[in-house]
């Protein structure tokens, strides 16, 4: 029967589980975000660097054949080695696309709900504030994975497939470090994007705030370092801290003076807690004026 002839009836069928409900908002958000041409172009553009890296991996793994033909010295082949440094460069470039994507997609996540007073509708349903935040985080984590984690695993998988199990047994920690490093970066960037979305109504400003967060904290850290003639000010620079953790987990030589990896991990953890607290403070179904 046509729906307009049927009339309203109360729904009495089966209900979905908690996990399925958790993915409802991300599904709707992904549908909306991916309908923007700029996002699609950005996603396509973000694939060029991994393709270049894959090409580099091909050259690296066939250096003997290629160099033998061209007659270049064997010392040059050392430069083509695939190691932690290679993946550090890969990750550092790839997160630039991620950062732009977060600045474009993040502000549209919470700001419209706040501007349209939509939160009471969500929180009057079986959805807690934590679940709401998690749902919004999943939106960004999913999108950012498309430009970071998934290409990263593809590049790593390509290297493994070309270099063989011997290389994998010697360098498996690089894969783990890359996954951990990308996840850490995604969590921080997602939290920054969602928090700016919760506090700033205008999307452009909220997007700029995402980028500004990293520039401002970097500037503040530099000022502290210069004024006090120390390196500990870098603890206030999440971008640098993430880079330091990446370097440490990828097996690269860290700077000798200043904080160590545990201090940077601690500072990032504190950043996550502070951002979470600021976010939860804003996300209330009703404003209470005391």
């Amino acid at each position: 029967m046509a729906v307009f002839r049927r009339g309203y009836e109360r729904y009495n069928g089966p209900l979905t589980g908690t996990a399925a409900r958790l993915l409802v908002m991300p599904r709707f958000a992904w549908e909306r975000i991916l309908s923007h041409r700029f996002v699609v172009v950005l996603l396509m553009a973000s694939m060029f660097w991994p393709l270049a890296c894959i090409a580099f991996i091909y050259v690296s793994n066939h250096a003997d054949t290629l160099l033998g033909a061209t007659g270049v010295s064997s010392g040059f082949s050392k430069m083509l080695e695939i190691n932690g440094k290679f993946f550090n460069v890969f990750m550092s470039v790839q997160v630039v696309f991620g950062m732009i994507l977060a600045a474009v997609a993040g502000p549209g996540l919470i700001a419209p709900d706040l501007a349209n007073n939509g939160l009471p509708l969500y929180f009057a349903r079986p959805l807690s504030r934590w679940t709401y935040v998690l749902s919004r985080m999943i939106v960004l984590l999913g999108l950012l994975s498309l430009v970071t984690l998934i290409p990263g695993l593809l590049v790593f998988g390509m290297q493994v497939s070309m270099a063989g199990t011997t290389w994998l047994s010697n360098h498996w920690s690089i894969g783990g470090a890359m996954v951990f490093g990308f996840l850490l970066w995604m969590v921080i960037v997602s939290l920054v994007a969602i928090t700016s979305s919760a506090y700033v109504k205008w999307r452009v400003v909220a997007g700029a705030l995402v980028l500004a967060f990293f520039f401002v904290t970097a500037g503040a850290a530099t000022i502290v370092n210069q004024v006090l003639r120390v390196q500990w000010g870098s603890l206030f620079n999440p971008g640098y801290a993430i880079g330091f953790v990446w370097s440490a987990t990828l097996g690269l030589e860290p700077p000798e003076d200043g904080p160590g990896v545990y201090q940077y991990v601690l500072s990032l953890s504190v950043t996550i807690v502070i951002l979470g607290a600021i976010l939860m403070r804003k996300l209330r179904p009703v404003e209470v004026v005391s």
Binding site: V3, F4, R6, G7, Y8, E9, R10, Y11, N12, G13, P14, L15, T16, R21, V24, M25, F28, P112, D113, A115, N116, N117, G118, P120, L121, Y122, F123, A124, R125, P126, L127, S128, R284, P285, V286, V288, V289, S290
Partner: protein
Amino acid sequence: MTPVVSIDNLHVHLGRREILQGITCRLGASGVGKAIGLLGPNGAGKSTLIQTLLGFHKPSAGSAQILGMDCHKESAKVKAAIGYMPENDSFIADMTAVSFLRLMGEISGLPPAAALEKAHETLFHVGLGEARYRTVGTYSLGMKQMAKLAQAIIHGPQLVILDEPTNGLDPAARQRMLVLIKEMKEQHGMNVLLCSHLLRDVEEVCDEVVILKDGKIVHQADLEAERSTNRRFVQLEVTGDDRGFAAVLHEIGAEGVSESAGNWRIVLPKEIEIGALWRITSREHLRITKLAYRRDSLEEIFLKAVGHLRPAPLATTQEAPVHGGI
């Protein structure tokens, strides 16, 4: 039978202010399709009570239950069983009505296919069928009210909480909204908790009414019982010294409250003829300048409960009866 809403000594603080001050009541019976009206002047605590029932505020003492489930401890279960239509504009502006309702349905636990089907069905039900592919932000105020109602009932809740549902509606749309609310309880067996400033709306739709003032319940009445008593409400204007008129009214078995000098609102029991009023005013040397029947019993109850009418001395014992009339 489990009451729809059961509140026991509920205290709620917002900041340092105590908004709800020890509310206790049992309202409605689940599964029967009852409508409960929540009335009170501005700042009485109506919205805070609704928000506490929705789990938005944590009680500082006491408890509130909906359909036998604690609103705070079993918040998820409670929210699965209720639908909420907020007073203010609440929607996702750049979504079409169908997408908006589908999203709300799915968050409430409907599978995607069922949510889509119910979204269409509910939008046709509230009269937005032809406009269902328009973005909600482009809707008129009346259409937004209907969209808010639709999102509250898409998942077929057992209790629907409506906060000022007829706000900003023209007479025809208001009537349509009231018809929908009546259908919800009579045809679909949903319980309704209706918060409104419009006494006529509450009287037209509700079976029970609770009046709040300063965070306390000042009156709770069964409107069905009120209607069945067949009492008549008379508005009387007299000139002369009417200071002892309340006592005289009591002598003949009527009750009255003086609204201002010479203005009386009187409740006449069924067995008392209107002529009795003429006789006692004549005896008291009062001259009647106006006598009119009123049919708005709830207004009498409300104004007396919130203290906007000066209670006559002999009526003071009936200030806050439970399940009774004035």
